[in-house]
């Protein structure tokens, strides 16, 4: 795929990240030379950085309502180790050196680079010892009776995020390609010396980006109807904001407390296709509000436009009790996505249990999304997904497994993977029982 030089800057960067590779990087740098727009440098001593690889919130943009805005450009690199059995110390040192280079090269922020390296249950199976009980990390599995995803069982997941598309590309080239420098820092060891990129997926997030990407060359991408309905200001293809700070777990909350992986977290990443013809063309705005949030949100007119009037909280907690849900199903024949999921996403004290960091994607010219979720115990995500399935609500026949059941009619899970995001001290090819 050739990059269209006439594209506006932000679309060009997004397209370059989607394409990837050395030529995409050189096209980016040719268009916006680094000298003109320097990338802030990292730290001289990486050990100064926090233990939590998932501590992103105080290093990215936050809006006036306190909502976290994730870096615009993201890449998900699914990595495998060569051969069977556990990796050796030499490989471990190579990985640590490579990551140290990134830490020195880029400021850990949305303007530089934010990343994490996480490991799958399959990776830990390479060792004789199991993970300690303080880590809840099952193999990925099917999480509804109507999905049949492929499981991502690669060893590791490198998640890269930056507002600078050229940074994401440069990191990839420095770690897995031929680039000998990263933001001016010499690259002595690379992740590619030890790990192979099995799959590369890209994402983006930000108001306006989905609308810009819903068509390519005048044609809607797969999943988007001819009416090109995605609102200009929406950060997501479905037309609403999400991830309000009041409806997200804190980083503290999702952090593992005990054991060798204390200060780590678990990460589930789903990949979902979207098919939005009926979402937009067959439904009114009110019906979309009912299905995304709750029927009560539509009745009370709580959502305007893409929902930025909601501020820091979708207000979903007011619509979670079983009687409210039953009543709104009787009156409207629908149940809301946020409403269903939130039922299992609160602890006894009302704290939110999972931290969602999903981004949109046009990989393979399909409207899709990558859905990472962080939680202290991986099975918490499974509980929330079960609540989102709404099987317990299908005793009212208006609510079918996919139809009138939140947004399930429009999303199709393709991949699921589970990972442990270790604390920084164990981020390089950890054993299951690190000292």
């Amino acid at each position: 795929m050739d990059l269209d030089e006439s594209l506006p800057r932000r679309r060009f960067m997004k397209a370059a990240v989607a394409v990837g590779g050395a030529s995409a990087l050189s096209a980016c740098l040719g268009r916006a030379p680094r000298a003109g727009e320097p990338v802030p440098e990292g730290v001289s001593d990486p050990s100064e950085l926090p233990q939590r690889q998932h501590a992103w919130n105080d290093r990215v943009r936050v809006d006036g309502d306190g909502n976290v805005h994730l870096p615009r450009h993201q890449a998900f690199l699914y990595l495998t180790l060569d051969g069977d059995g556990p990796p050796g110390d030499e490989a471990r040192e190579t990985v640590e050196t490579a990551l140290g280079t990134l830490d020195r090269a880029y400021e850990r922020s949305n303007e530089g680079l934010i990343y994490s390296l996480a490991y799958s249950p399959s990776y830990f199976d390479r060792f004789g010892d199991p993970l300690p009980d303080s880590v809840d990390l099952p193999e990925p599995r099917r999480l509804s009776g109507f999905e049949n995803p492929e499981f991502d069982t690669q060893d590791a997941l490198l998640h890269l995020a930056s507002d600078r598309g050229d940074v994401v590309l440069e990191v990839e080239e420095a770690m897995f390609g031929d680039r000998s420098e990263a933001n001016g820092i010499a690259v002595d060891a690379t992740l590619g010396d030890v790990l192979i990129v099995d799959d590369r997926r890209t994402g983006f997030i930000g108001a306006g980006m989905p609308a810009e990407r819903q068509a390519q060359g005048g044609e809607p991408i797969s999943g988007i109807p001819d009416s090109l309905p995605v609102p200009d200001r929406s950060p997501l293809f479905m037309g609403f904001e999400a991830g309000f700070s009041g409806n997200q777990a804190t980083e503290d909350y999702v952090t593992i407390r005990e054991g060798p992986f204390a200060d780590g977290t678990t990460k589930h990443v789903a990949n979902l296709r979207q098919r939005l013809g009926d979402w937009y063309d067959e439904q009114s705005f009110e019906e979309r509000v009912m299905e995304m949030f709750s029927p009560g949100h539509a009745e009370q007119g709580l959502v305007e436009g893409v929902g930025d009037n909601l501020g820091a909280d979708s207000g979903i907690d007011a619509f979670l009790d079983p009687e409210t849900i039953e009543q709104s199903i009787e009156e409207h024949g629908r149940v809301g996505h946020a409403q269903k999921a939130a039922r299992a996403n609160r602890d006894a004290d009302g704290n939110v249990r999972i931290l969602r960091r999903h981004v949109e994607s046009t990989d393979d010219d399909l409207a899709s999304l990558h859905f990472p979720s962080l939680q202290r115990r991986l099975s918490t995500f499974e509980d929330v997904r079960e609540a989102m399935n709404g099987d317990d609500l299908t005793d009212n026949p208006a609510i079918r497994q996919r139809v009138n059941n939140g947004i399930l009619e429009y999303i199709f899970v393709q991949h699921r993977g589970n990972f442990l995001v270790p604390p920084r001290r164990h981020r390089a090819l950890p054993t299951p029982r690190p000292a």
Binding site: F146, S222, R273, T394, P397, R400, F412
Partner: protein, 348 residues
């Protein structure tokens, strides 16, 4: 592969010149004539019917699956008593359909979640939810209008989801069944010309209160047996919203259902062709007791609404209330019926 185009035209067929059923390529407007005016709040002859092309059939897990396609159709989604017309916007290539059944008993399964992914030469053409729907020629099936990518060889990957217990209870040897999803792949040839050559028939008595005959579709159909062939003893019938309700009493309660008295089984079906009407919420009252008539799948009784009761006395009156009408997507001719459904009293 099992492929053929079929049309058995029903009563009301006009124009001897179309015997054999094949007309030449039709424009979209011809394929979707205007709805008749003053449609009755009942089952009626649609404006037209079309043949279909068999895509194939296969087995996946415990399910037998047949797939077929036709020209894109307008249809109506149903939520509660509201209908929402899904119009044709020209973006779809075909109406893709499947029927799913238990191969041993040939019981058609109405409450699975179905999705289809269509690929052509490895590239995605479409992936979509398939609605449980009802049509006069096809009966109970799953379907949706899907996008294609021109003529060629397609693979339909059909995902049959589990059937939630809360949705339909299982009894007898169906206990514990239909809980595992399965995926079937069927390869088929698609061409616009084959599609456009599918039989097409308009009816000059469209709107009349009647129904087309079902087609032969190489799959079992979900129909309620004639009263004489129903298991148990028929104790009465009633109608509501143009649907028929046949009340039978079984002397024993099917295995897996609590209760040790008799078992009321209510069979709900369409008029004229006795197609099963699933996905209702029904409640009953008998001799001062109220109870849910629970949607149940049983290998001997088929799909029915049932309740264990202590004993049915000869002069008892069973009252049946339809709390939710059949939540099934409807093809033309069924979209006005089975929506407003009045209370029924059946003298047993």
């Amino acid at each position: 592969m099992n492929r053929r185009a079929v049309l058995r035209a029903g009563a009301g067929l006009v124009g001897a010149g179309v015997v054999g059923g094949c007309l030449q390529t039709e424009s979209r407007s011809v394929r979707s004539p205007p709805l008749v005016e003053n449609r009755p709040d009942a089952v009626y002859y649609p404006t037209h019917s079309e043949g279909m092309e068999m895509v194939g059939s296969t087995t996946a897990g415990e399910y037998r699956i047949a797939a077929m396609y036709s020209y894109p159709h307008r249809f109506w989604e149903v939520t509660g008593s509201d209908t929402n017309l899904k119009k044709l916007d020209g973006s779809t290539a075909m109406h893709f359909m499947t029927v799913v059944w238990d191969p041993e008993t040939e019981t058609v399964l109405p409450n699975a979640s179905l999705t289809v992914e269509l690929t052509k030469e490895g590239a995605l053409a479409d992936q979509t939810n398939m609605y449980a729907m009802l049509s006069q020629p096809m009966g109970l099936h799953y379907g949706n209008n899907v996008e294609g990518d021109g003529d060629g060889t397609y693979i339909a990957s059909i995902e049959v989801g589990s059937v939630p217990e809360g949705r339909v209870r299982r009894s007898g040897d169906f206990q514990g069944r239909f809980t595992e999803p399965a995926t079937a792949e069927i390869e088929f040839e698609y061409s616009e010309s084959t599609r456009d050559d599918l039989p097409y028939q308009e009816y000059d008595d469209a709107g009349k209160r009647a129904a087309l005959e079902p087609m032969d579709m190489m799959a079992p159909s979900a129909t309620v047996p004639p009263e004489g062939e129903l298991p148990g003893e028929v104790h009465g019938t009633a109608t509501s919203g143009d649907a028929a309700f046949v009340v039978t009493v079984q002397d024993t309660v099917p295995a897996g259902i609590e209760g040790d008295g008799q078992y009321l089984s209510v069979f709900a079906h369409t008029p004229y062709n006795r197609m099963v009407l699933p996905s209702m919420t029904l409640s009953g009252a008998l001799a001062g007791d109220s109870f849910a008539l629970e949607p149940t799948l049983d290998p001997d009784l088929g799909y029915h609404y049932g309740a264990a009761v202590s004993e049915v006395a000869d002069d008892d009156t069973l009252s049946i209330t339809v709390d939710t009408p059949p939540q099934l997507t409807r093809h033309e001719g069924y979209e006005m019926a089975f929506l407003e459904m009045s209370h029924m009293e059946v003298q047993l």
